[in-house]
Structure formats: structure tokens, C-alpha cells
Amino acid sequence: MGRWLDERLQFSELLRSVFEHPIPKPSNLLDYLGFATLFAFASQTITGILLATAYIPSAAEAYNSIKVLQTAPLGVYVRSLHSWGANFMVVLIFLHLLRVFYEGAYKKPRELTWLMGVILFLATLGLAFTGYLLPWNQEGYWATTVGSAMPGYIPVIGEYILRIMRNGLEVTGATLTRFYAVHMLVLPLIILLAFTPHFFFVLRQGMSVADKLEAAKRRGEDIEAKSIPFYPNVAFRMILLVVVVAVVLWVLAGVYPKSLGSPADPLNRNHYVPTPAWYFFGVYQLLKYFPGRLDVIAMVGLPLLFLIVLFGLPWLDRNPSHSPRKRPVALSIATVLVLGLIFLTYQGIRSVPKPLPTSGVIADPSYKADIDPIFQSRCVGCHGQSGGYSLDTYANVMRKNVIPGHPNASLLVKRIEGKVAPQMPLGLQPLSKDQIQTIKNWIKAGAKNN
């Protein structure tokens, strides 16, 4: 069979270049992340096609079609796999990108591989973003409304871009079908078109970790002792990594099935406050640090800079060395950026309204465990930006609206009880009686930073 094909296509040489590639010992699992990403994509393709057989892309039917699908246990599981799989793919491709960066594998002669990889990365984010709207639930609807509002800040053409994305000014049924087409056809096509050369380049050039060995071999050194063959040794380890990833995915999808939530309500009768998918929390949080007119920087400037750096990296970074130790500048910048992103994401997630225990008064509450979470989830969203009444840190809480020992005299309490209008949180569901009592107990006990 192999010979039959080779007679016609002559590809054995190409395959030999990768299959007989010696890989330095010990081979690092992190070098297989691209392969793991490919697995995640394959899983997404399979579960996505299955979902497409049940899903109806219309504002009137989308939610119900998923609901019907969810009546069967396997339907729940497949949807959960697809949803978890999206998270896996975003994480894996990001880790793959970081690893490639760390190894300096984007440098000559692999610039084009990197370029294709960047396209794959962006297309993956695009898939995650468009897929979020498709169930037509409250979460997805409002996250898409806010997310697609951001390009509106691009000077001059912003509004047109927004309208093209949504097919109108608002997120409507026409947006849903548009996102559906992009999610199902356009982005997968882009991924295919970028992946084919990406993969071909890797076949042609081999893994970058092997470059040194290859050079040694060309010099006539004996590399036998320092290397293991790609096939079957490294290939087997790759499959093992995929199995580990797959098992974690399957278990997570089974143990934490993705809930559908309530149907999209564009009229927002329940005063739902939008939050993005967690991997977009970095941008979400960044917005809070760029108040007023400066938010254009967070919404347009930084993403643009990010794109330029990503695409231009092989040409911006002129340091020819691949070794991490000889690239202190590049690596420090990247470390700062990654830490910053992790910090922003963490902060963003922390500030999202969490389902707090709404019943049960805490007699002896601690600021950190009981009080701060209430503030973070119910107050900081609005107050984060409006100076005088910030509740994001202990110092800010204590600035003027809390009188230790005297809950009823504290403006904070008057506001959340509605004794002083307007009642807080403004225009949202008031805090529960128990939460208010808990806060009062804490103030009564001296409003300590405990």
C-alpha cells in the first residue's frame, strides 16, 4: 500500500525527513503541544459536525434546538465536549505558541511556519468568539453584544465594521446566521488553508529542537548516543500526550457538563450583567484601567500592537540566537506580558458576579472571606471607575462610607438598604437581606481587615 502510493506520489522522501529525524534526548513533552492542539481541533471538528446535525441557526429556534439535544445524555455530553474542547484548544494553542517562542523556533528558517501559526491562533480565537453566540443563551447574547461593540471604537471605519459583523446595528437573528456561517465555514476553511502549509513546513524542516543534532550529523559526528528516532519513539510519546489530554477533556466534560443557562433576552428583563468567556477576560479587565477616552487604547491600540508584534515577530526580533539563555530581552518582555495577561485574567474573573451564598447570615464575618466577595461581585463592576465610592480594596471601602461599630450610621448600609436613595446596586437586584445583615455584623464588630 505504502509502496503503491509512493510510486505515484513520491512522498516517502518527505516523510522520511520527519520520520527519521533524530530528536535530542531527552525529548521534551512541551514540544508536542502543536500535536495536542491538532487533536483538540479534530475533536472539535467531530463534535461540531454532530452538533450541526441538531442545531437550528435561527433566533427563534437555536436555544430550543440545543435544549432538545440536551434531553439525551449523549447530547449533553457531546455539547459539553465541544464547549470544553474550545477551552482546551485555546489553551493548548496558546501554550504551543509560548513554547515555540521560548525555543526561538520562529526564527530563520521557520518564519513562515510562525506566520501560519499566528493565523491559526487568531482563527481559533475567532472560533471561540463566534461559537459563544450560537446557543443563543443570555450569556452568549450579551457577551457577543459587548464583544462586538469593541471594534466600533476603531477610528473612521469602526461603526461599519461593527455593522458588518452584526449585519445591522444590534445583535439580531441576522447576526446569529452570520456568526453561524463564519463559525462553520469561513474559519474552518481559514484553519485548513493555514494548517496545510504549517504542517508541510514542519515536515520539510523538522522540529526545531533537532537543528543542532542535524548540524552535528552534517559535521560527521556520531549522534547516535544523544538522540532517539522520531519514529516510533517520539511519535509514541506524542500519542501518549494526546491520550492524557483526551482523558482529561473527556472526564471534565463528563463531570462538569456545560449548562445551557437561560435563553437570550435582548430586552434584558432580569438585569443580567454581561461577562465574556474567560479567555477574553484580559481585555475585559484592561478596559477598567483605561478610564474615559483612553479606553480606545485598550480596545483598539493594544490589540493592534499585539497583532503587529505577533505577525512581525520573526522580523522584529533580530537576535539570531535560538538559545533562551542568549535572548534575555525577548524572554523578559514575553514573561512580563504573560504574567500581565494572567494577572488581568485573574482579576477579571475575580470581579465577575459569582453565585454567592444568598441565604444564611454570617454572625462573625471576615472581610476577606465574606465581605470582599460581595463587594467584588456586586459593587466593583460599576464603582471600579467612579473614584469616591470604590469598594475594590479595604482602604477604599473604609475611606468614608463605613463607620466601624455603627452599621446603621454608615452610608454604605443606608445605600444598600435603600434608606438613602438611590438604593444600591443601582438598577440591579438589591443585596439579599442576609448579605446586608452579614455586612452589618461585620461593621458592628469594628469593620476589621480580617
Binding site: 434584558n268 467612579s386 438598577g427
Partner: protein, 160 residues
């Protein structure tokens, strides 16, 4: 594209140069025209409807709107219920405000206790006519077309 090396091609080059150039230009030109034609179709097909092209639709009875108190109504179009605050103002007559915050389009809420619109996302605040009082919103709430026909309140597309 480079020509095949060797004697043959040198020969061919000499005799057929203008012809080859013509053929090459033809390949590039024809693919270019085809590509542009399809791009044109794609662009026109995906172009969004013009701003304000939404039809006038009834959203309620004029009697149901108390003076100077905004009421959220549903403008049912595009397969969804779009949120619009309709206000019968004492000085400016009827106005309709799109209920999306102009910052990042969260839904704003009318807080009757303070007679202001508040946005729960980043704390944008607007007065009854949609002018920004505080927070990040860069411009007033968008207005929508509004007509009173008999007792029926009709709302249309966005203005501006």
C-alpha cells in the same frame, strides 16, 4: 514563474517572448478579474442594512406613558425584542432612546428614584434624555425615530 532551464527554453524565449508575455498577462489578468468580481459580490451581499432603515412598528398605547417617566418597550424586529425607552417629555414631546449604553452596549436601566439611566457594566450614568452625566460613555444614548399615530406609539430605526 521561471521558465524551464535548458536549451529549449532559451530557444523558445527568443522566438516567443511577446507571445509568452501576453499569455502570462492573460493568466494574471483573468484571475484578477474573476477574483475582483467575486469580492464585489461578497461585499455587496454582506453589506449591512442602512442605519435607520428599520420599519416603524407599534410599541404601545400613548395613554400608557406617564409624563416624564421613561418606559422600556420591545421593538420586535430582526427576530428579537429590541429594547427602547419611550419617554413622553413635558418639554420636548415624545422621544425614543435606544437602551444600549454607548460605551459597550450593555443594557441601561432607568432608576426612577434618581431619575437617571444607569449602566451596570462600568457605571455609565445618563439623564432622562440620554445625555451623559458620568462614567465612560463617549456620547449620549442613541435616539430612534418615534411617531404618535392616534393613540398608537410607533418606533423606528436609529437616528445618526
Amino acid at each position: 514563474m521561471t521558465d524551464e532551464p535548458g536549451e529549449k527554453s532559451t530557444l523558445a524565449d527568443k522566438s516567443n517572448l511577446p507571445r509568452r508575455r501576453f499569455l502570462k498577462a492573460g493568466i494574471v489578468g483573468i484571475s484578477g478579474v474573476l477574483g475582483i468580481a467575486y469580492l464585489g459580490i461578497i461585499g455587496r451581499y454582506l453589506a449591512p442594512p442602512a442605519i435607520g432603515s428599520d420599519p416603524l412598528l407599534p410599541v404601545g398605547k400613548a395613554d400608557d406613558f406617564a409624563l416624564d417617566s421613561p418606559k422600556l418597550v420591545a421593538y420586535k424586529y430582526g427576530g428579537i425584542e429590541q429594547g427602547v425607552y419611550v419617554i413622553n417629555t413635558s418639554d420636548e414631546g415624545w422621544i425614543a432612546l435606544d437602551f444600549h449604553c454607548t460605551h459597550l452596549q450593555c443594557a441601561v436601566n432607568w432608576i426612577s428614584a434618581i431619575k437617571k439611566f444607569a449602566c451596570p457594566c462600568h457605571g455609565g450614568v445618563y439623564d432622562m434624555k440620554g445625555h451623559v452625566l458620568g462614567g465612560p460613555p463617549p456620547r449620549p444614548l442613541y435616539r430612534r425615530v418615534i411617531r404618535i399615530q392616534g393613540n398608537s406609539v410607533m418606533v423606528g430605526g436609529r437616528i445618526g
